[in-house]
Structures are given as C-alpha cells and as structure tokens.
C-alpha cells in the first residue's frame, strides 16, 4: 500500500505542481494565452460534461469505439489468416505495405469525397489508420511462436480450429496486445483529426471552434479532456491486458519466459 502511494506520488507530482504554479500566476489578472485555471475547469465541466456532451463528446466517442472495434477485429482476424494460410502473405503484402505507408491524415480529403461527412467517413479513417499495427503485430506474434509448441499441437492431434483458438492465438497474444495498444493511440489521434476537417460536431470540431472564437479557456479545457481520455483508456487497456495475459506476466515473474 505504501509502495503504491509512493508510485502515485512520483507519477503526479509534476502535473500537480505545474497546475499550482499556473493557478497562482494567473490568480490576479491573466494573460490571453493562459487564462485562470479556475476558469478552465469551469469551462471543462460545463462544455465536456453538460453543454456539449451529447452533441460533440458522445459522437466522438462513438466514432472512436466503432473505428477501434472494427480495426481490432479486422487486424487480429486478418493477421491470423495471413500468418497461417500459405500464400496469403504474398497475396496481401503489396496492399498492406501500400496502405500502411500512407500517413493517415492524408486520406482525410479523399475520404470526404468518397464517404461524405458522416459517421462512415470518420470511422473509416480511424480503421484505416489503426488496423496496421494490429495486423502486423498479429502476424509477427504468430511467426514468432515457438516451434516446439506447434509440434506439440500436432503431436496432440489438435485439429485446425483448436490449433488456432487454443495454441496460435493465445501464443501470439502478448504481441497482439502490443499492436492493440498502438492501434488505440492512433485511433484517439485520428478521432480528433477526422473531426477537424469539414466537420460539424465532435471534440476536434470543438477545438477548432474555440480557437477561431478566441475561447482560450475552452481550448485548454479540450486539451485536458483529450489528455484525460487517453490516460483513462490506456488505464482501462492495462486492466484488460492484465486479465488476458495473466499467464504471461505470471510466467515472466516465475522466470519461465
């Protein structure tokens, strides 16, 4: 318990001190760029929890959930197929490497032409950016599986389905999780980016709007919101990873891996 408290203290001392400095520096009279902290928190609460929650925050989260969910499903399933079906990699690799090489924000203009301005466009952009690390890590994870494990699966006469679900997928899981983690970060990034161009709602749209109207406190509130969202989702991800890879962490501590 004591160790955990110390870890928490080490984690948060810097942001807390910066906030305190900011608070006192802007207490009497403020600068345009750095509004008082109290005002930022007020705007944060009003905009992101009440005023704009259903009109902007919620749609953003829906795009994120849809895009990341589809990217994760496609990436893991596609990676397993490419890594286990002979010739699948040769067939898929030109497309994989072409689309992976495109910087995700660069596909925004063409996506708007092709898909319009709605949920489909925003979700597609997230999928197109986030699917690659998931796909490539899954392929790598399957490739890196120990030969003895696969021979054991054959020696146990495991059929195709059991080999995939009980040996290959869990064996590649540590690396699949690595891919899912970078996919999540890219998804958050693209959620904001996709809403900054020709959009009428969303967190990204709200940020641009605040900037154009010189609502600096709102802008800072948006920063805090995005930062907290990323932090929270990452924490959730860690909890999930602990559950899924319980054996992996246990075996590492046990010294077996």
């Amino acid at each position: 318990m004591k160790g955990r408290r110390r870890a928490l203290a080490i984690e948060i001392w810097l942001p807390v001190s910066l906030l305190v400095i900011w608070w006192f520096a802007t207490k009497n009279g403020s600068f345009l760029e750095f509004p008082p902290v109290r005002l930022i928190f007020e705007r944060f609460r009003e905009e992101y929890f009440f005023g704009r929650f259903s009109s902007d925050v919620l749609p953003s989260l829906v795009h994120l959930a849809l895009g990341y969910g589809i990217a994760a499903t496609l990436g893991v399933a596609g990676g397993l197929v490419i890594a286990t079906v002979p010739w699948a990699e040769a067939a898929a690799s030109p497309y994989v490497h072409f689309f992976r090489a495109l910087p995700p924000p660069a596909i925004v203009p063409i996506s708007i032409i092709l898909l319009g301005l709605g949920v489909t466009m925003k979700t597609s952009i997230i999928v197109l950016g986030a699917v690659w690390p998931i796909l490539l890590n899954t392929i790598d994870g399957v490739r890196g599986l120990d030969g003895t494990l696969l021979e054991t699966a054959r020696a146990c006469q495991l059929g195709r389905r059991y080999r995939l679900t009980h040996v290959i997928a869990p064996g590649a899981a540590p690396q699949i999780m690595t891919g899912l983690r970078s996919g999540l970060q890219i998804s958050i990034l693209l959620m904001a980016v996709s809403e900054m161009v020709a959009s009428t709602n969303g967190i990204g749209y709200l940020l641009l709007l605040s900037q154009q109207q010189f609502l600096i406190a709102d802008l800072w509130a948006g920063m805090i919101y995005l930062g907290l969202l990323g932090y929270l989702l990452n924490a959730l991800f860690n909890v999930g990873e602990r559950v899924v890879l319980k054996w992996h962490f246990g075996a590492r501590v046990g010294g077996a891996l």
Partner: protein
Amino acid sequence: MIDDNTPRGDRLSVDLAEDVVVDVRSLSKEYRTGAGVTAAIGDVSFTVARGEFVSIVGPSGAGKTTLLKCLSGLMPPTSGTVLFEGKVHKGVPSRLTLVFQDYSRSLFPWLTVESNITLPLRNKKVPRDEQRRRVKLMLEAVGLPDSGPRYPWQLSGGMQQRVAIARALAYQPDCLLMDEPFASVDAQTRTDLEDLLLRLRSEFGITIVFVTHDIDEAVYLSDRVVALTQSPCTVSDILHIGLPSPRDQLGTKALPEFAQLRSRLFTLVRGQ
C-alpha cells in the same frame, strides 16, 4: 505399486514375431540447406514390438531427434518407409504421441495443468466425465494429485515433465515417443522420473521409443537399445538388454551384466 514379475525376455521373443508396432525400413533424411544438401539420417532400419521399451542412443548431432520426428510423422522421410501398426501414415498417427525434451515449451503456459491434459481430449470429443476421470487418474499416476488448477510455470522442471507425461498418457496412446525427456532435469529428479516411467509403462502397457544420449539411462530403462553411428547415422548395432525386471536404481546398476552392457554400448557410441 505395480508388481512387474513378467519375464520380459521371454515375452519379447513371442511379441517380436507377432506384433510389430513401429517398423522402420531403410529410412533416410536429407535437408536442403543454403550450401546444398545435408544428410542427417543415412540408412536406418529397426522394429519395435508391442509393449517393448526401445532406446535410440547415438553421439550428439547424430540425427536422433530428426529420426524421432520421422518416426512420429512430424517430418516426412526423404526415402524409406515408417510403418505404424502396419500402415504408412501422413502426419502423426492417432494412436501415437510424443513427449519433448523441453517441457517449458511443450506445455501451454496459458492453460492450467488440468486444461493442458484435457485439451487433446476435448479436441477428440472425449465426454467430460471421462476427461475428468483421466485427469485424476493420470495426475495421481505421476504423483501430482493436487496440481490440476495450477499453471505449468508454477511447478518445478521435474513436475512439469511429469505433467507432460500425464498429458501424453491421458491420450491413451499405443506408443509413446520420447525425445530426451529427462535431459533438462537434475540428477535426483531424473532417476525418480526414470522409475516413474518404468512403472507407468507396465501399468498402462504402452510401447515406448526413447531417444537419449545417456548410456546408463538407455541400459537401465530398455529392453533393446538401437545404437547409432555419427551423422548421417546408420544403425551400428542393436543390443538386447535382458536385465531382470522390475529394475531398481541400486540393484540393477550393480549387476555385472549392467556394467558389461554399459561398456559395450559406450564402445559402440563413442569408440569408433
């Protein structure tokens, strides 16, 4: 536990004529490598009778593991045939299974001990009650009655190899192929596992083909020992052991016949 008073030597001669489980005929294996073709197995022929314990001994790098992989169907031979219960097989035959040297990589670390044992049974659609019965039976047989809910990495090396053996036996094979299964455990554990294996073998009546580079171990465990030459290996001789059963670590190893067989095998493997 089991009183093994059957005079193996007598039964063997009968079995040999009647019931051959593994029949290896002029097996050879070449690898295609960057530099060209490397021969791992030159020309190997031998048979294993039902219920027999046959060890394959050879200098390190002789191609013992390759030979075992060809026997099991994990690897196709370049030429020659392997008959299992009279039939040529593609892939691993269903009445045969393997135990590998490296237990830390052959047990699935994401499954508990119990699930490791039941996975092949679930795949084979063995009813649940029967699965549970076999897990209990086999874990008791290998001396780990309470380890079912634990993970392999929570067990010591010797215990993990016991689990691997329990998994192989729960599958109820006719024949068990073992690739240096006791090479990575300490000496004390090793002798325990050797005796365990002999006991399980008479308890469940399985045929065992056992690859090792340890000459004492081969003489102690086997009915016959196939001695291999350097790579690409051929059979240099087949020794009939004929030591009395049941064997025990002190008595058997103190017999003058044991010492003779041991030095003969040593000369065959090392002395050419």
